[in-house]
């Protein structure tokens, strides 16, 4: 489904008013549109206190629930790791997460996830869109939905950011009918957005002159024809200009050295610290990927390695958000495309298993220190509190105050934010 609206929606009318206001406010500012008005310290401060945020940790490849949130020590399927006590009496998690265990009073384990999809791409799609993939429709990722539903429309920073472990960058193709305005900006290996520095041979004066020329052309064109794509183009320029001004927001090196030490001196630690920085600066949605958990071979060795990183960085992140009073306004989600088989294969590996696994949530309206749902003794099936990707998607949105039963107005058509055939997991919200 493409976003091809010729815009007359109230949202875009508001955006246009903001545009003009911003233009007046910034006088000879370098952009068309209203972003500048929100770049003022007062507005930013207001935004910070009111805004809800979401951060998703995507454990790429399929984290083993048995080596993390739902250990089964001593059983045939349990593997070699022990379970340890946490800060919540009665909730035990894997010994690979000793630091996270100390933050359990902030967390909610959803242990009864059954998504019935063992394919990487399909599973990831379901977990990030709340819908099963279908050739008939494409759905926006949670980040795009949050950016549209929660981010200030004229926010100075992008509302949807993905921090990936590898290199690269650019924009994702993950906003479906919400339009490219809400597609992710990808920070490859946590580096600032690509192409956000002025080329050395272009002076500031030259840059300003060419932007003025572009603005005039844009205004003339927009006065007669306006589509989602043209708006996205304009927005992209405006956003790029803002990004160039606020490039420091993406520079994790600006964070204190002691915080780098606390988060761990590896990519994931740096990415978690960057996520904190982005959220503190008002970015609505940040996704941090940690790779790779697709451990068909030597599952236990690789989980020692990967969770050794995750444990320190994630626990520090949760503790920091709590200490800084951000947990009330920030939803934290830890998800994968699926879990891993209770059966241990001949290579000491675990394969794909979507019938009984765990997603973790924290913050916003999510209940703290809760383990919801239960799997059987060997972890092969859910025996209580079974939920799926669609239930979780509703719950993410409701946790940050977005009515997940509401609709987006797309070309005059009401499109549900979340699967209307599903509903939220009520018991885990306060």
């Amino acid at each position: 489904m493409k976003c091809t609206y010729a815009c007359n929606s109230s949202e875009h009318l508001v955006a246009r008013r903001g545009f003009l206001t911003g233009l007046a406010a910034t006088a000879a500012g370098s952009m068309v549109g209203g972003l500048g008005v929100f770049a003022s310290p007062l507005a930013a401060s207001q935004l910070k206190s009111d805004q809800k945020r979401v951060v998703v940790f995507n454990m790429h490849g399929g984290l083993s629930q048995l080596e993390s949130w739902d250990p089964k020590p001593g059983t045939e399927t349990g593997g070699p790791f022990r379970a340890i006590e946490t800060s919540v009496p009665g909730i035990r998690i894997s010994e690979l997460l000793p630091n996270v265990a100390k933050q359990m009073h902030h967390l909610c384990l959803v242990r009864g996830v059954n998504t019935s999809e063992d394919d990487h791409a399909k599973g990831a799609y379901m977990m990030l869109t709340g819908r099963r993939q279908s050739p008939a429709a494409d759905y926006p990722n949670i980040g795009a939905v949050c950016a549209k539903a929660m981010a200030p429309q004229d926010g100075a920073l992008p509302g949807h950011i993905i921090i990936t472990p590898g290199g690269g960058g650019g924009r994702g193709n993950d906003s479906a009918y919400l339009g490219p305005k809400y597609s992710s900006i990808v920070l490859g290996n946590g580096n600032p957005p690509q192409n956000t520095t002025r080329p050395g041979q272009v002076t500031e004066v030259m840059d300003s002159a060419r932007n003025d020329f572009r603005k005039r052309g844009n205004e003339r064109f927009l006065s007669r024809r306006r589509t989602a794509l043209t708006e996205a183009y304009v927005y992209s320029y405006e956003q790029a200009a803002q990004l160039m001004r606020q490039r420091d927001v993406f520079d994790v090196a600006k964070e204190p050295a002691k915080d780098h030490d606390r988060y761990g001196k590896h990519d994931f630690g740096r990415h978690c610290l960057l996520a904190r920085r982005l959220l503190e600066n008002g970015v609505t949605f940040v996704q941090v990927s940690h790779s790779n958990y697709d451990t068909h071979n030597e599952n236990f060795n690789f989980h020692i390695e990967q969770l050794g990183e995750f444990d320190i960085s994630f626990a520090t992140f949760v503790a920091d958000l709590a200490d800084r009073g951000m947990l009330e306004s920030t939803l934290i989600v830890v998800l994968s495309e699926f879990g891993r088989t209770p059966n241990i294969n001949l290579y000491y590996g675990r394969d794909h298993w979507s019938r009984a696994w765990t997603v973790v949530m924290a913050g916003a309206k999510v209940q703290r220190g809760l383990a919801f749902g239960k799997t059987n003794e060997k972890g092969t099936e859910v025996v209580d509190g079974q939920v799926d990707h669609a239930n979780l998607f509703h719950t993410y949105l409701q946790a940050v105050g977005v009515d997940s039963t509401d609709t987006f107005d797309i070309e005059g058509r009401d499109v549900p934010l979340a699967d209307p055939a599903s509903k939220l997991i009520k018991p885990i919200l306060a």
Binding site: P80, F81, G166, T295, H296, E305, Q306
Partner: protein, 345 residues
């Protein structure tokens, strides 16, 4: 992960090309490790469970030794007289047991909280005085075998310690790690004398963001002339078990790599253990998608001279004091004893 038995004269009938499975016994879980007791009476095994298993070599009778660990047993060793067995667990604990106990439910005679994380390797010195342990905490620790007293803590590994072997002279300990370093420690001082560079056994996969490989097999010839370090290479897909077995042969004196021992055509496998045999050749225990294999090399050739295919993927191997029998630990819940000689009537 290896125990190098002191070399004996080549036993009568010794012929790896006549190798055959002489016995196999079932356990209730897939096996992880196996070791022969020095007097040749028993075969001890670790499974995907917390119990140690003892098989009587005469009749295959199995006895479970519970209560030593809260995790899988990854490593085993014995006192020189064979009367005490030691097990190293994923709980970082060493448990000591009376090897030949007649108790129906044996109990550990001692438990030592030895490491933070898994103990993948245990080894007793040739004179029986010292027990060495290697841990995921990157430490090698030396214990007094008789008392369990900690004598030395050897720091110098940057990765998990995977394997240990004493030099036959008893004055040197070798320890191999995940990152492909084999450290040589002087005893009794505990001083690091130098390192063997076995880095071809380690790789970092940037796409999957994992360190992989390690020195999984380590063996020294009885005369100390050669040191062999085994594991895997060509790890194009670590998470998918795509890698090939390899062993590096080093000059024991200069610590230089003198030969790379390969196994052409085995596209999925890792060497879980190495032993020098009485005739001076080297046997590697290979497990992976290509199956369970014993691979035999001469020290003067790159390619193996013989392979023996076992019925199932294997995970560990040990050589019996008689120099003729090899035990292998298998995923299919069996331990097998292969005899390197012609079948007897």
């Amino acid at each position: 992960m290896t125990t190098q038995a002191v070399a004996a004269p080549t036993p009568a009938g010794f012929d790896p090309k006549q190798a055959h499975v002489a016995a196999q016994w079932a356990a209730e879980r897939p096996l992880v490790c196996c070791r022969f007791e020095p007097k040749g009476r028993f075969l001890f095994c670790g499974l995907e469970s917390a119990d140690v298993q003892r098989f009587n070599l005469a009749d295959g009778k199995r006895v479970a030794f519970p209560g030593g660990h809260e995790s899988w047993v990854f490593s085993l060793a014995f006192s020189a007289d064979g009367e005490t067995a030691f097990s190293g667990g994923g709980d970082g604990r060493i448990a000591a047991w009376e090897t030949a106990t007649a108790a129906e439910v044996p109990k550990p005679v001692r438990k030592i909280e030895a490491h933070q994380g898994w103990i993948r390797a245990l080894r007793v010195s040739p004179d029986g005085a010292l027990l060495a342990s290697g841990g995921n905490d990157r430490l090698v620790r030396i214990w007094e075998t008789a008392s369990g007293k900690l004598l030395h803590e050897l720091k110098g590994h940057a990765g998990h310690v995977y394997s240990l072997d004493f030099h036959p002279n008893g004055k040197t300990l070798l320890s191999g790690d995940l990152l492909g370093t084999v450290n040589q420690w002087e005893l009794p001082s505990g001083k690091l004398a130098g390192s063997f560079d076995a880095k071809p056994l380690h790789s970092y996969n940037g796409g999957q963001q994992v360190d992989f490989g390690g020195v999984r097999g380590l063996a020294v010839t009885p005369d100390g002339k050669f040191v062999a370090a085994g594991g895997l290479h060509k790890a194009t897909n670590p998470l998918g078990a795509v890698h090939e077995p390899i062993s590096l042969l080093f000059d024991g004196e200069s610590r230089k790599n003198v030969r790379t021992l390969l196994a052409d055509g085995i596209t999925n496998g890792v060497l879980w253990g190495l032993r020098f045999l009485a005739d001076g050749s080297l046997v590697g225990a290979c497990g992976g998608g290509s199956g369970g294999l014993l691979i035999f090399w001469k020290t003067d050739a790159d390619k193996d001279y013989h392979r023996f295919a076992l019925p199932n993927i294997l995970r560990d191997m040990d050589l019996h004091p008689d120099g003729l029998r090899i035990a292998t630990a298998h995923y299919d819940r069996h331990v097998r004893v292969t005899r390197l000689a012609a079948k007897t009537a």
